[in-house]
Symmetry: D3
Subunit: 227 residues, 6 copies
């Protein structure tokens, strides 16, 4: 149950070196390395393509049509943080724009993930400040009702604790619990190494059917080839 009206100042951020290792892998690889869990819903899309970031979560709970807590969160940011914002209701207003982006960048933030709307997309793109959002909307918001900062919250279907590692790219957003970042980075590295080899083989025309030894299980499952 969400606590309203709280700002938690001291949060245990995921180990920076381990988070940096995660940054080298994409969302798909990290999600696989975790056992196929941790993804936000696929309606979370980048406002411009081609970015891949990793960082620690500073979480923000918003009220509909009200971006007050995004201002409160700025003070809690440290170098490399990614702000994860959710709303107590479905709302696509433009909670975040170029002024907040300027402030967040000055405070070290690496990007924003918001299950709501964002605006000033052209300027954010020019600034190179990456945002993953549910919508783009110019609609302005008020500053009248409290939410919270750095409480555990659900963003786009994923549970996020403050300090968790976040990886985001063109495929979406994945959440890695802070305590598991090192282990997941190891697994991602192993998977990636393994995939490089496979990629090289497949590039020569070797079939996955043979490389993964699928022919027998397919036959067993009853697959029939006809002409």
């Amino acid at each position: 149950m969400y606590q309203i009206g709280i700002v938690k100042r001291n949060i245990a951020r995921a180990d920076r070196a381990a988070v940096d290792r995660l940054a080298a892998y994409g969302v798909a690889t990290v999600h696989e390395a975790m056992g196929r869990v941790g993804l936000m819903k696929p309606y979370m899309r980048p406002i411009y393509p081609g970015v891949q970031i990793a960082g620690s979560a500073v979480t923000v709970l918003l009220q509909p049509g009200d971006n007050w807590m995004l201002h409160v969160a700025a003070e809690q940011l440290r170098e490399g943080d990614i702000v994860i914002a959710a709303c107590t209701a479905e709302n696509d207003d433009g909670f975040f724009g170029d002024l907040l982006a300027t402030s967040y960048r000055a405070r070290g933030a690496a990007g924003l993930v918001i299950e709501a709307g964002v605006r000033d997309v052209k300027v954010l793109t020019e600034m190179g400040f990456p945002v993953w959002s549910k919508a783009v909307s110019a609609k302005g918001t008020v500053k009248a009702t409290l939410g919270s900062v750095n409480i555990p919250l659900v963003c786009a279907g994923a549970l996020v604790h403050p300090g968790d590692a976040i990886v985001a790219d063109d495929d979406g957003v994945v959440v890695v619990p802070a305590a598991m970042v090192g282990k997941v980075a190891d697994a991602a590295a192993a998977r990636e190494a393994n995939e490089s080899e496979k990629r090289a083989k497949l590039a020569t025309g070797v079939l996955g059917l043979d490389m993964y030894k699928m022919r027998e299980p397919l036959e067993k499952a009853g697959l029939k080839y006809i002409d």
Copy 2:
């Protein structure tokens, strides 16, 4: 109530000089300068990113699956106009493509806003003819049923009178009543000037919490900081 089968030839366009001033500001700024009203719904998206235009509305009411009135509207266009097209029913067919774009451009149109579908997106992008639409669809349309041109209509949730100023960018589309364009441009200019200052401060790391003097109202609202 929509009048069907009407083309109004003489419309009072918003003052061109004032519209040109609006063009310098984005949709978000203009919408704020109007008191946070006038936006079309956020499902209206540009077919390619990075464009910002302003112009006077020539309105078109379409029937589903029928683009006849878009041809009729071409004759009513003047330099700098933006065509605003709505449909009497929900319909995502491709009402507009490169031939109509060629014609509209030759007649001086600056762009199209259509609560329906558009096609030939690759060519439109190469031509640099900007369109904001609800959908992209190759589906062709017939020319069989009358709509109207230059009647007041609702497009994507916004009321548009012929001659109103339209501003469109990556954030969406906003409508400014013709009689208010000068006043709104003034307010946008004031807001922009004000924001430049703020932007500079925020870029140095000053917090919005301090710059906007939010700490006291937040405390009064009951915000608690915990460690």
Copy 3:
């Protein structure tokens, strides 16, 4: 009714020369040349803009959350084929990523059309391997349940027989029955020739109203001009 557990090896591909001619026209033109039919639903979108391809369909029927059949399909690919994948249920998982793309490319595939999700979008973009999909999602899939390869199936509302010609661009995807490809290419060529002329005229400011002789039918339909 779908046959499950079948791979058909020998399919009659559309004539390659005719398919190559289709490749010169966009989806909108081909769809018009067919009499305004054959389109997939407009929710099928390219993962990156600006590509236009044509090829022969290799069809794949998937089970939800299971991409086994995409591996089976690789063996059936020939130079220039386009894989058309549908699922027995609504599912947006990431069935296809950079490893399968590497394999498909090595086997000659020109692209993928999938009524489901795709992942590794950044790498696919860098590789230049075009995909049209309903969603982007990093969600991994299993290999446990049989579907089929090269059966007739419905993809995004369009019936596709193995070997049919597929044209895809920024406007979407259209299906041309294998037996009709030559005829449709002829019709598309005729249409295109006709449109070039029209485009030139419209570019000089001639109105479609006059060029298409619409004034009389509009008057007959009751259109009124007012001032």
Copy 4:
């Protein structure tokens, strides 16, 4: 452009006798009688089936997550009014529940049409207080930001002036300008009379093809019968 912070007290309501006549026809008939215009978008659905009402519009402009103006509107209600509520942004919160319904009923309201969410659906159903809405949601709202009452506004794609006649049933909601209610009721009556006759004929097995004399135009359009 919406005026914010305004309550208009004296509005010219549509003629009650004429509105009562409209109540006898469904939304489809009234919409046809107006020339196929005036409908709200089809996502507006009744919270329970089987109701058909007509009344005069009292309009309410809401801010997202804030139902203050619904309380303000109660004072402006007269016997037979229908409240038409729109929001400055997309928002599905539960702006209206059983307490407001009790108050509205005591003030004479016949129902509510709201392009947003509603709650206490079970009690509203038991009370027999009809609501057409975009969503059902238990989410509560605040009372902090002004909107307006009895300004012209756009609700679900339809322009509504205070005092306009509203007809709502299982098919949706239609808006009739106050000045046209008598004329539209006449047209609806004529249409209905005409339809009764047709219905009787069709019930005996006469074909619409013959009754509407469609065979000739179909043949002319090129329809071919094959065996």
Copy 5:
């Protein structure tokens, strides 16, 4: 590829006795009996709950905003037929209402399945004429452009040939190829018999885990019980 402008008069309807047997089973059972295929997409919903019907398909291809072909189809109906209507584009207009329902009933139709909108829902409910549709909308349609009757078409993702058996209930709609109706009815009967037994056992508290002998495969798959 759809043929436009065709009415096929003689179609081979599924065997009536076999279709009647299907009518006794729900959509879920028939779909399972076919090997889990044949379903229309789940956005096809009944306009009122509690009906279960089976019949032979008379197919109708519509153009957007145009219901001409629904009138043409009436003449082709025989006792027990179910009309299956699709549109060449996405369109939610109200193509069908109480007059057409009166005519269809007089000609023997058992119901309508339409991937588009329907109106007069209150009257259709009172008449007990069942409809499965994608939308409810009062929007009227014109009669200007040809489609076809009794061609094979795709409706809501399912391929339907004229004469195929259709089963529809609160779970949706399933299509059974005419040639397989007897076999599918046998399989459905077997499945149902089997399920009755299971239902009785489960009702006494026996677990599916034991009845289906799932404990061993679950353990093998690695399931762990913890306290």
Copy 6:
């Protein structure tokens, strides 16, 4: 991060007497009593109207297209439990039908909340077994891949721990942490008592404007009455 392949047998259920007290209040009241938090997203709808239940959560994590874990969960049910099922991916298949409902009822379950699809809706309605779901679909599922039972999970945007109290009615679904059920029931009772008084006053025509003393704050906020 979800643990896959786990069944937790001993969970601490919310106090039954307190849960029973919650059952007397609707979802809206309980959500308000918690401080306006805890709601699932509004796309979770009951399969038939008019039911209001409360119980303790037994949670189930499903894989797409696979309902194995729903069978595993049956063994963990106790009198009055409500099963809360989420899926690792977006999937609307019919994971649950009348056989599972028979089993769940025999084991004491009060209902099901599933962020996916359900089938056999007609029989479930006749049985009076209530389900809240995201979709209705006849699509069958396999039993091939492990999920988990009684792990904390996110369902329709709400975090649910096994044993939490669940309240569901026509307005949706709300989650109350097990430790807070008594306190929330008290707050709901207080709110309800308070509302009964207000309801009585409003029913006599007293305005909320006066009862809630809104006139002064509205004036202060700048509301203007005009004639």
